[in-house]
């Protein structure tokens, strides 16, 4: 039995930032890695995009979701819903909780950083975000890690390292079956 799974659609990142300058920047940074980017200016718009209509009373929603987001990167300080609150809502959602979330902040506050990581953020980037930061996202956007709202998640693909230190040097897990753009091609053949 042979299984060939080829990543066809570009990986989709949802970027959340109330600053138009920072949205433009993060979008450009992400696009250099050929990710497909949706940028919104608030946490509530992000949740709306992800399929949670009523942010106060959301229930776990049906798996007929249109959105197919592979990673969420959000600013911490935003009016209304902060990035931390957005992170928490995502982690509380049955269907969204496996989407990796990255927090960005211009303030270097250790307590804030650990709180975000404890709440489940994969990485914490200090602003201004650079290409070398975006490079660290690749392990979270490889096929093995990829979780979308459409995933039934029957197969246990998530080998994710739960002890990832969010903001230390991320070691590239040398997956030989991953091409440079983080799009995994896996060929599994048994004779």
């Amino acid at each position: 039995m042979g299984v060939i799974a080829i990543q066809e659609t570009p990986l989709h990142v949802l970027a959340v930032d109330d600053s138009n300058i920072d949205r433009k920047l993060i979008e450009r940074l992400l696009k250099t890695y050929s990710y497909h980017v949706t940028a919104v200016d608030s946490g509530s718009k992000a949740l709306e995009f992800l399929g949670l209509q009523d942010v106060e009373n959301f229930q776990s929603f049906s798996s007929n979701q249109e959105t197919d987001v592979n990673l969420i990167i959000t600013d911490y300080c935003m009016p209304g819903m902060t990035g931390f609150e957005l992170l928490r809502k995502i982690k509380e959602s049955k269907s969204l909780k496996d989407i990796p979330v990255v927090i960005m902040s211009s303030d270097n506050i250790p307590a804030r950083i650990s709180r975000c990581l404890e709440e489940g953020a994969q990485e914490f980037f200090l602003k201004p975000v650079r290409l070398s930061d975006v490079d660290k996202l690749r392990p979270y956007l490889s096929k093995n890690e990829r979780k979308t709202t459409n995933d039934d998640d029957d197969d246990d693909n998530d080998d994710g390292d739960d002890d990832v230190e969010g903001w230390s040097d991320e070691d590239e897990q040398g997956r030989s079956d991953e091409d440079e753009r983080g799009q995994a091609v896996s060929m599994d053949q048994s004779s």
């Binding site: 138009n20 300058i21 920047l25 940074l29 250099t32 602003k127 290409l131």
Partner: protein
């Protein structure tokens, strides 16, 4: 020395002085790295957004500090925004003023805030003029058929 070479030399001199005098920091270089054939005007676009944003913020700050009862949380929010945007484009001196400005907000020190606002405005105008001159030189070089030197 032909016209293009002279323009290129002026460009290099102007750009290096901006870094040397601290108007710009490495983040501006990072922006330039993001500009290519598919995004040929990226730097100008981002910087133009910064100009528009800054002018609004400076006006808002002036108004906020003129209130009978100053709302320092609001002032701080504006300064935080200004600090963020200036940091994102590499406008180092503006950013540094914002850092001091936020401290005065924390202390609810009106005089300190007023002085910082003036300084922020001055630094903003300076960097704006210098960036406009830089972009102008770029345009002239390109129109003369030359290529814009990379400043490492």
């Amino acid at each position: 020395m032909d016209g293009v070479t002279q323009l290129q030399r002026q460009f290099v001199e102007h750009a290096t002085s901006l870094y040397r005098e601290g108007y710009l920091d490495d983040q501006f270089t990072q922006l330039q790295k993001l500009q290519d054939e598919t995004n040929p005007d990226f730097v100008v676009e981002v910087v133009t957004l910064f100009f528009e944003d800054s002018e609004k913020l400076l006006n808002n700050l002036a108004t906020a500090l003129q209130q009978e009862s100053v709302d320092y949380k609001q002032v701080d929010a504006y300064v935080h925004q200004f600090k963020g945007s200036s940091s994102s484009i590499g406008a180092q001196r503006v950013k540094n003023v914002c850092v001091v400005f936020r401290n005065y907000c924390d202390e609810k020190n009106l005089d300190g805030c007023v002085v910082c606002l003036q300084q922020a405005k001055n630094e903003y105008l300076l960097v704006r003029n210098k960036l406009e001159a830089l972009f102008n030189l770029e345009q002239q070089i390109l129109q003369a058929g030359g290529s814009v030197p990379m400043i490492v």
